[in-house]
């Protein structure tokens, strides 16, 4: 059983009759008075208020103002579920071509006072959505100032919980350089009269995506717990910055590149096909070989019709065989130690170390010898078989080596005409004496030039 009493009053003050400031004010009050009756449990008190101010027409300056005070007070003597709520929608429009101003100032205070019951909880919550939209041709700031204060004062050892969930989103569609800043200050203060477990934590996620410019997060976290004994202070910080830049990239490419050059030349003439003329250029490529000398090192000495074998190779000769010079089909064999390989691709590679041995062999055929000369030669070969001997060839060059075919057959071609072939393996000595000496003579020449001043 309910009793309802209502009163409606509508008043209009003034009406625009001429140019000037015009104020339109409405006051509306709806008071519901519920008188209690014994045994009545469902009690509601509600206020429904619709205020609409509209100024249109030829008025140049429009100004609308709402001043609204809502006070709901419910006092019950017993512990009954009591709800106190305000639903308030404020819409302010300002615009036209001039500078618009849209401001919402809203202050919500909810105070719930409960008795100290065990396991009793008193939720206090404010849900506030602020949306501001500015559409203009020039730069206008859009600012949301939001202060949320939640205060719970509880008497008793019950669980306390204060949660603030705050989401700030800023979006702009301008194609030009923009600056987006979020300033967020979170302060949590917890007070408890008794030493129960307390926890103060901040959870903050900052995500910035910017296609242009810098992405910077500056975050200061300060957790302070003041208490009489130890508590844990933990700061967990996760920061993710993504920068996508489309523009010029300064790139540095470094390569260790060695560039060399090679230069060669030649003069193609009939003489250069006969003379000792190795054309030497230059290159900057290091190789492990020495190029051929530009000058003939062992020029042809005085030719002779004599060919001598002797021992020892250097010094005073103790035994010597001198025979006639060999025939023109003499051989100068030059053998080298090389490694030949073939790659999987079918390419040929050849390698040789400069220090690997080289074998030089002289093969000569001597004809027209007498039997006595053959005997003398074979006696010499028998005495020096396998030993180092000296050899002076028909050009006066000195060699040191050994005979590799002491068992070579000597053939009698005719009466008093014997032919023999010798193979000598050795090396040419640097003590070559084109004048025919044995190389054991050392000539020293001192030249002193005195300049009298």
């Amino acid at each position: 059983m309910g009793v309802r009493a209502s009163q409606v009053y509508t008043g209009v003050l003034g009406q625009a009759q001429q140019t000037g400031e015009v104020r339109v004010r409405r006051m509306y009050a709806d008071v519901l008075v519920v008188t209690g009756a014994p045994g009545v449990h469902n009690v509601s008190a509600s206020s429904t208020l619709n205020l609409t101010d509209q100024s249109v027409g030829w008025i140049d300056i429009q100004y609308t103002d709402h001043t609204l005070n809502l006070t709901d007070s419910v006092t019950v003597a017993r512990n009954l579920p009591v709800g106190v709520s305000h639903t308030l929608n404020l819409i302010s429009l300002g615009g036209r071509t001039l500078t618009g101003d849209a401001t919402n100032n809203l202050t919500l205070n909810q105070v719930v006072v409960e008795f100290n019951y065990v396991a009793d909880r008193s939720p206090v919550g404010n849900t506030l959505n602020l949306t501001q939209t500015v559409i203009a041709n020039a730069s206008l700031p859009a600012t949301s100032s939001l202060n949320l204060t939640q205060n719970v004062v509880v008497q008793g050892p019950i669980k306390q919980s204060i949660t603030q969930w705050l989401s700030i989103s800023q979006h702009t569609s301008t194609p030009y350089r923009v600056f987006i800043e979020d300033e967020l200050s979170l302060t949590q203060y917890l007070r408890s009269p008794i030493p129960i477990t307390r926890s103060v934590s901040h959870t903050l996620n900052l995500v910035q995506n910017s296609p242009i410019g810098n992405v910077l997060d500056t975050l200061n976290l300060t957790d302070t717990v003041t208490f009489s004994f130890g508590f844990e202070i933990t700061s967990n910080l996760t920061m993710t910055d993504n920068v996508s830049v489309e523009g010029l990239w300064v790139r540095t490419v470094e390569q260790a590149l060695e560039i060399g050059h090679a230069l060669t030349w030649y003069e193609d003439t009939p003489c250069t096909r006969k003379q000792y003329t190795p054309f030497q250029g230059e290159n900057t490529i290091n190789t492990d070989v020495d190029p051929p000398p530009t000058q003939l090192i062992d020029p042809q000495g005085s030719t002779s019709d004599r060919f001598s074998l002797y021992t020892p190779p250097l010094g005073v000769r103790t035994s010597e065989v001198i025979i006639r010079a060999p025939e023109l089909d003499n051989r100068d064999r030059n053998a080298y130690s090389r490694v030949n390989r073939e790659t999987r691709g079918g390419y040929l590679t050849v390698f040789a170390d400069p220090n690997w041995p080289r074998v030089r062999t002289l093969a000569v055929t001597i004809v027209g010898l007498t039997e006595a000369q053959i005997d003398e030669l074979q006696t010499f070969l028998q005495d020096t078989v396998g030993q180092m001997i000296g050899l002076t060839d028909w050009e006066g060059r000195l060699w040191q080596g050994f005979i590799t075919n002491p068992n070579e057959v000597a053939t009698q071609d005719g009466k008093c005409r014997w032919t023999v072939t010798l193979e000598f393996e050795g090396e040419m000595l640097d003590v070559q004496q084109p004048d025919g000496s044995d190389g054991s003579t050392l000539n020293l020449t001192h030249t002193v030039t005195v300049v009298k001043v």
Partner: protein
């Protein structure tokens, strides 16, 4: 037409000129084939194509001093890659394959031949 040998390749530094080789120069492929016949009569061939490399042989009759120059050239570059421009003007890159290199006295020569002797040598050359 001269026979030109340059070495080492590609950083060529030394060039030696020779006269054209004598008749009898040759060139051949280095590819080989080995055939095997199965019991049913099928022939199987095992081929080493060697990338189509060519092998050349030239014989030169040169003066005594030119032979000494060639010997020094061989001493320096017997294991190096060389470039050859043959008497036909064709260019080849490869190695000298002789071992040993044998210089043979061919005969006496007049004063126009430095050293008063002629020598012969056979060069074997194979593409790389």
């Amino acid at each position: 037409m001269s026979f030109i040998m340059k070495a080492p390749y590609p950083g060529i530094r030394t060039t030696t000129l020779l006269p054209s080789p004598t008749w009898g120069d040759s060139k051949a492929l280095t590819a080989t084939v080995q055939s095997m016949r199965a019991v049913d009569g099928t022939i199987y061939t095992y081929v080493k194509s060697r990338n189509g490399r060519m092998r050349f042989q030239w014989e030169f009759e040169i003066s005594r001093h030119k032979a000494l120059e060639l010997r020094e050239f061989i001493n320096s570059y017997n294991s190096k890659m060389i470039q050859v421009i043959d008497h036909d003007g064709d260019t080849w890159i490869g190695y000298l394959r002789n071992n040993p290199f044998e210089f043979a006295g061919a005969g006496r020569a007049g004063d126009g031949w430095p050293g008063s002797e002629t020598m012969t040598i056979i060069l074997e050359f194979e593409e790389r």
